[in-house]
């Protein structure tokens, strides 16, 4: 799986007795197009520009459903919860100064593999892992 796909969502909706609504469609579209990792509040405002009167409850309902379905994931950095529409195997770089969260492709961290993690821990069952790298982003480094 890679980025959030509208097609995937439409399919899952039908298979789970759920209904596709305009609000849900717009939330999914916004997440698809987002290049960063939006907060629930950013989603709320973006959705309301295209579809006024959308309540926060709807935004949270949809985000939680997508999260539960594994179509998006949650990232917590700097005391703020963000949503990540990229569910492909990847990791994060967090800037200590500006707080920006950047994606790091899994191919870049080939040195650490899931099989290795599984071998390291005896009694636990390892399913996946994620790496958070911290430092200064390109902009803050030069500034």
């Amino acid at each position: 799986m890679s980025r959030l796909q509208a097609q995937t969502v439409e399919t899952m909706v039908g298979e789970n007795g759920l209904k596709m609504t305009p609000q849900r469609r717009i939330i999914v579209e916004y997440l698809q197009s987002a290049l960063n990792h939006p907060t629930a509040d950013e989603v709320f405002h973006a959705v309301n520009e295209k579809f006024p009167m959308t309540s926060r409850a709807t935004v949270y309902n949809t985000l939680n459903w997508l999260k539960g379905s594994g179509l998006i994931s949650e990232v917590f950095e700097g005391g703020v919860v963000r949503y990540d529409p990229n569910t492909s195997n990847h990791h994060h770089f967090v800037c200590r100064k500006c707080g920006k969260v950047e994606d790091v492709g899994a191919e870049l961290v080939g040195a650490f593999q899931l099989e290795q993690a599984a071998a390291l821990l005896g009694s636990q069952k390892v399913e996946n892992f994620e790496i958070t790298i911290r430092g200064l982003c390109a902009d803050c480094r030069t500034a």
Copy 2:
């Protein structure tokens, strides 16, 4: 640096124009003795058993000061913020079922080194990294 040391705290207190108070001492003692990763609420209740009338503000003040001084760190898992008195280079295993957070020694993940991370990312300045491994803990695996 490894586990939170009372000695270290006493020293830092003096060097920063801060005062060591009974409340702070008890909070530090509790964190030292904690085997898990307590929440702010757990710290609040534990401290109040030994020193009643300690307010939440004091607990948060102390936790934030310790965090700012790098003596403890914050972990966010399952929608809950926890504090980690172990500041040695280590990583975390999170159980998908019960939510428990276990420490994983850095020596176990030797395959991935900070130098490698630095080489992978071009323009960013890498300072440190942490790995979160997910799966089923020993208890939940057998149950």
